[in-house]
Structures are given as structure tokens and as C-alpha cells.
Amino acid sequence: MSSSQDSVLLRIQTRLQAFPWFIIILTTFLLIISLVHLYSVDPMGKFNDQLNWIILGSLLFFFVSFSLDAWILKQFAPVFYGVMVLCLLAVDILGKSAKGAERWLSLGPFRVQPSEFAKLATLIMVARVMVDYHNSKDLWKIALVIIIPTFLTWIQPDLGTASMILFIGVFQVFFLPIPQKLIIRGIGFVLFLIYFLWEFYFYDYQKQRILNFLNPMLDPKGTGYHSIQSMIAVGSGKFWGKGFRQGTQGQLHFLPERHTDFIFSVWAEEHGFLGCLVFFLLYGIFLIALMAIIQRMKDPFSSLVTLGIWGFFLLHFAINIGMVLGLFPVVGVPLSLMSYGGSHMMVCMLSLGIVVSLAQKK
């Protein structure tokens, strides 16, 4: 008993020595910013929710980072993946019976968004399949792993999350030594498919919807409203910003989804160009620190998982900010560690816990 206790202590001690404190500090920093701005926009309910999620997420983070090992993760990847696929199916079926778009699954007092967890489960599963990659004939396995959750999320319908699952997968596959010929053929096929669908499959109204989606300015009262209000918020911040809690677009509710997907608009409106540069710097250091961890990893599975997680953070950052700045259609992709939302926060903290646990040398 005492020897097992000793071994746990020893283990914690060795792990603490190799702990990437830098990541923790940066994460804490970003989370504080998130909380402060949530407080600014909605001091009551949403702030408390987010605080609870962050505390819960931190516990999860520490538990995972101290207890998880690469081999356990690799072993349980298919189970995690399988459970997530089943959850997605459950959401699809229950959501249909409820006659409407449904992304949530109730687990007792919690309402969980399985598609968020599917992002992580899929990237871990992809990493595992990639480890066993021998030649391009194994590609279909990876493709299947990616496409199943993508499809199940897409029909919920949750286009934003579905595309995130797909993009993260593609990002990981990019690191496989795939022959150039195959890549070219693949791209060619996708282009042809798009052309075919556009010319022969879609009706005019569907095409119009897609065009509106790609260029929100075509429909300023409808799909474009979010984009335009967000650009007004960002632009009116000018160089210095309007000041903390003085952003009229956010404070007076002109900005929709200001606590979730458009939290960065609030930041840009209240802190201006300068504040945005500071934020980019912070997020940039965070991403580079993660990248540095990957490069020190020896185990291919660990580095592939961490790479996927790196892609996860980068792609959420890129698409969310693109959306806020009116460069990308509004698809409902949160800004990791910043946006309000329990499931996404849990997934972020879990991912970071995994990274930290994998970073320890055995």
C-alpha cells in the first residue's frame, strides 16, 4: 500500500519536473481574459457558467496530465471514438424525433454537445491509424475514420463543427508521406465533384444560398447581419478601442452571439488595433509553445496526437477570427479558450491535459 503510494508520489514528482509551465501560464492568461470579457458582456449567468466550466476543466486537465500515458490513450482511442460515434448517432435520431436541429445530449444535469468531443476523439483515432500507415492503400481507413463523424455532425445539421472535424483530419493527413501523384489526383477529384454538383445537381435557390453563405454582403439583413455588425464592432474600435465595457456594439446587443462565437469582436471593439495585436501575440506564443513540445516528442503516436491538437487550436483560431473579421462565412466556430460554451471548454482543457501528459519523458 505504502509502496504504491510512494510510486504515485514519485510519478507526480517526476512529472512536475518536466511540467510545461509555460503552457499553463499562457492558458491561464487566456482564460482570465475570457472571463473578464464575459463579465463585461453578461455579468450574471454566463460568467458563472463559464467559471464553473473552467474550474471543472482545470480539474480534468490536472487529472489527465498526471495520470494519462501514451499507451493508455492509444489503447482506448477506439473505445473513445466508438462511444462518440454512438453519441452522434443518438443526437441525430433524438434530434430528428424532436423535429429540429439538435446538437445536445442530456446527461443528467449536464447538457453535452457530443460533436465537440468528436473533434478530439477523431483526431486521436486518426493519429492511431496513421501510426499503422504503410502505404497509400491504407488511406481509405483514415478517410473512413474522418468521414463517419463528419457526416453524422453534418446532418445534425452543424456545418461548422463538421467542417472542423474534417479540416483537423486533413491537417493530420498532410503529414503523411503521400505520393504527390495521389495528392494531385485527390485535389482533382474534389474540384471535379464541386463542379459537377454546381452544374448538374444544385437548384438555383440552393446556389443562391451557397453564394450568400460565401459572401454575406449579398444579403445584409439576413445571413450578412452577423458579419456586418461584427465588422462594425471591430472597425469602430479604431486604434485604441472604446475602452473596457464601453463597446457599444457588444454592450447594446447589436452584436449577435457576442459571448460565444463573436467574443473577439468585443475584444477588438473595446481594445482596438493595439489590443488585437497583443491578443495575436499571446495566442501566437501559445501556439509556438505547443509546437515546441511536439518537436521534442520521440513517440510517433504522441506527436501525431499533439499535432492534431495543435491543428485543432490553429484552425479554430483561424476560422473564428476570419469569421469575426468578415473574411469567412459565419459557421459557428468558437474561439478556443475564449468563447462561452461548456463542451468546447472541456475539450480544450482535456486536449491540453493530454498534451502535457504526453510531453513527459518515460
Binding site: 503529414f175 462594425i232 472597425g235 456594439q249 477588438a268 501556439l287 476570419g322 473579421l325
Partner: protein, 589 residues
Amino acid sequence: MNKSKFKLVFIFYLGILSIFISRLYYLQIMKGEEFSEASTKNRIREIRYDAPRGLVYDRNGILLLSNKFFFDLVITPQYLRRKSKVFHLLSHLIDIPEAQIEKKLLESSKLPSFQPHRIKKNLSLQEVAKIQSMKFFLPGVEIHHAMGRDYRISGSSHLLGYVGETTEKEMETLTSEYHLGSPIGKHGIERKFETTLRGKEGKKFFQVDALGRLQSKVKALFSSNIPMESGKNIFITIDSRLQKTAMEAFRGKSGAIVVMNPQNGEILAYISQPTLDLEHYQKGLSQDEWENIMNDPHKPLLDKASAGLYPPASTFKVVTALAALEEGLITPQTTFPCHGSYTLGNGKWKCWKHSGHGVMDLQKAIAESCDVYFYQLGNLLGATRLAKWASLLGLGKKTGIDLNLEYVGIVPTPTWKMEVKKTGWSSGDTINMAIGQGFNLATPLQILNLYSAIGNGGHLYHPFLLKKEISKDGLRIKFGEKQLVQSISLHPGNLEVIQDALRYAVDSGTARGAAIPGKTVSGKTGTAQVVNLSRFTDDYKDHAWFVGYSPARQPQIAVVILSEFDGGGGGKVAPIAKKIIETYWKNKL
């Protein structure tokens, strides 16, 4: 891991970052000002306050037009609670169906919710009291004061005009100071002096959220409120005592009376009957009331003084006489016999006095209004020369009063007839023209102007209404000025002959009814035949004219009266002129 692929990913990341930074630079630095404005537009709403319009006094400082408050019931949706209970209570208090309240709110649902929506106009004082006593049970319901006009003189709707709401069509030509529905003077003094009377509306700015609710938690700067400025007060040339006298004397009749100072064109009284009840009009007319007005054969909406067209009839004879004298065709001593009719070619024209006037010289002919005498002058003159003199004396042209719609009338010529009637001119047309019948059409104001010119020595003035305009601080005064159209050059003696004849007409001729003991009056009556013109088959009576001035030399007051369907010649309306001129002299003393 593949090092080169890491590099690629890193470059991809840097690429995205630089795109974002340049986008931020574009949005926040280059377009920052524009987006700032857009965000201000989002959150700032303005409420406009109408300024009180300027007051209008008559020439002696008697108030004709001022302002008063009306009470409107308004609901401010932001503060409205327990909707159905409030509506139910309201419907009992002010007699308005609940459904209508709901409908009114829905109609203006595009307005921000902090803005009061008008539910009912012109509440009575009892209704106001009822609402106030129940105020506790009516959250969001308020009584608003609306500014309206207080009419201190009745029966003068064509002179005063009224204030209405700016229409979409008017917006096209107006400056940005006007908005759809903002008050604007329509017709009469209210329109003519709109820019002076209007003042400047005030503005209050509010900050609202995306749902239009008033919000003050963000203290961002916005422009300060703009106070309203009331309109400037004016004194008009009208003498309200003359206006009232004329109105009373003319009660129940249809037509126009205008009184003017012939020495400068100042309008002293201006009446067109029937009139609108402005007080009632301001409160809003019902559909039935509107239809009654529109279908009234006496046309209460028409300003008959400047847009009523009538054959000038015998009042035109002075034009014929002056033309014949000036063209040297006759002298004052030239005589023609009148046997009751005049024959030219196959035609035969009767004198109004079928037994004939006997031998007539010019003065007698004017005083007795002998038609046969003027038939002969017309024949001597011809249509073209007659038309030339009519135009010289201001007929066929606008007088330029610019009060309401003004018509120019018709001075017929052979070319005019060819163009409009598509037939040639006959000598009979000239004969009719010479006594002011036929195609001749003129407004009472034109006839008044013509006689003023005869009385004052040949000077034609633009009639005007502004006595003085007081600056906002009350210190500076701008006076209205007379404006000469033209002075007609005449042989010295000729005008005096006509003036004497007109005096003779009042002293012992057809216009005897206008004579005032102790004062000299000159004038002329006329009877405009309606039979062949009338659209009203049940009313064949003729229009009666009187036009004249006093005193006979250097006149100070000129009066024109046209009474529609009054029959019986100018003798009937001359006493009205007498009353007006008497009042003038009485006040003068």
C-alpha cells in the same frame, strides 16, 4: 516528423496571421471612422420636437393666429406592462376599441420602443382628467402636448391657410429640415410665410440597444441635444376690423371681397366665401365631412379672389373707354345714341336697358353703363387694340400676390381664339369683348388692381401682405415694401375723364348704393352673365360685381366685391362696399 512540412505549416500560420493583421489595419485604421459612424447610427436615436410657429398679427397689432396645446394619448412600448389590462381600461376611459389600440401600436411597430406612439389625437379635458386619475394602472400610457394653431379670427381660411403634415411629394422639393409628416404651412399666410413662421425643430438624442430600448449603461459620447427655436412673428397688412366688417356684410354669400390700399398694393381685407372652419379642420374631418366639402357646388376650397374666374362684365368698360381715348378714336365729348340695341351686319346686340339711354357721352355711358355706347367703341377699336389695353392694365397676367393658387384669366384675341377654339374671330366677338362678356375672364384681384391703377394715376402694384417681420430677439424689424409692376403712360386728361365718370357712377349712376355722405367714392358695378357658362343647371342667376375706391382723388382704399349667383346687377353688392369704406373712414378718424 517531416521537418519541411512543419516549415510549411508554420508559413501557413504566418500567412493567416498577416492576413488578419492587414484586415484589422483595414477595418480599424483605414475604415475606422466609417465604422465608428455606423456604430453610432446603430445606437443613437433622435426625437424631434416641433417648434411653436410664429404669431401673426394684423396691421394694428391685433392677434390673428397664435398657438395652443392639444392633448394626445401616447403609449411608450418600452414601459408598457400588463398589456391586455391596460388596453381594456383605456377602451373604457376614452372610448376607443381595444383592437384599435392594438392596431395603432402595430402600425408604428417600426419605431423604436422608447418612442411614444400616438394612439388618439385631441383628447377632451374630461378624458385627460380620467387618464391622469388612473395613471397608476396605466404603465406606459401618457398624455402628450401637441402644438396646434389658435385661430383668433373666423371665416378667413383662404387668407390664413392652415398647417398640415409634409407629404412624400412635397419632400422632393424641400430642404432636409423637413421630414415626412413634419408640420408645414399649406395655403394662405401659413404657406406664404412658411420660412419665417416655421422656426427650427429641436432634437433630443437617445442611446438605444438592438431592441430599441433606452440604454444608459454605456457612457460613450454622442452629440448634445439641439434646442428648438420658435418661428418669427409677423404683422400682416390686413386690417382685422375691415376683414370682420366685410365678412359680416358678406355672410351667407358666395364669392370674394378684397380690399387694398391703391397707393401701394397693401391688402387690407381678403375674403373668399364659403370658407373652411379651420378650428374644425385642424381636429380632423370625417370622411363624410370631406365629401360634403368636395361636392359643395360653391367650392369652399377655391380661393375665389385669386383663382375664381369671372367675366369682368361692365367693370371692363373702363378699359374700352380708356383704350378709345388713348388711341384717339373719341374725345370725352363724342356722343352716340342708344336706342336699346346695336346692329352690326346680321347681328343685333341689346343694351341692358331695352328702352335705350338716348344720347350718351363717355361719362354718362360709364355712369349708366350703357352697352350700346361701348359696342360702338369696340367696333371702332377692334379686338387687337382692345386686348393690348386690357393687358397693359394687368388683365391676363398674375397680380403676383402669391397667396394661393392664382389664375391669369383670359384676354381674348383672334390668335387666341384660333388656337383654343379652333374657329376664326367674328366682329360679334369684339362687340361682346367691349362690354366684358364673351371670352373675357378675370379674377376679382385683377379687377381690383386695374381700378387701383385708374385711381392712383396709372401705377400697377403687386398686391402684398407683409407689413413687418420681427426678428427673434424682437429688436430688428423688416418691413414689407411696395412693388411696382409698371406705370402706364397716359395722356394727362384721359385718366381724369374716366375717374370723373366713376365718381359720377356712384354719385348718380348705377353704383349709387356705394355713396357715403361726406366722402367721395368712385366705382363701377357689373353683372356677369352666367346662363351660358353655368355648370349649375338649377341656378341661373348672374354674378354681381362692384369695384371702386375712395376718395375720388388720391384714393386710399379700393374694394372689389364679386358675389356669385346674386342676380340683379352690382346695385345689390354696392351697399356692402359702402359698409367697408365707411368702416375704413370711421377708423381713420
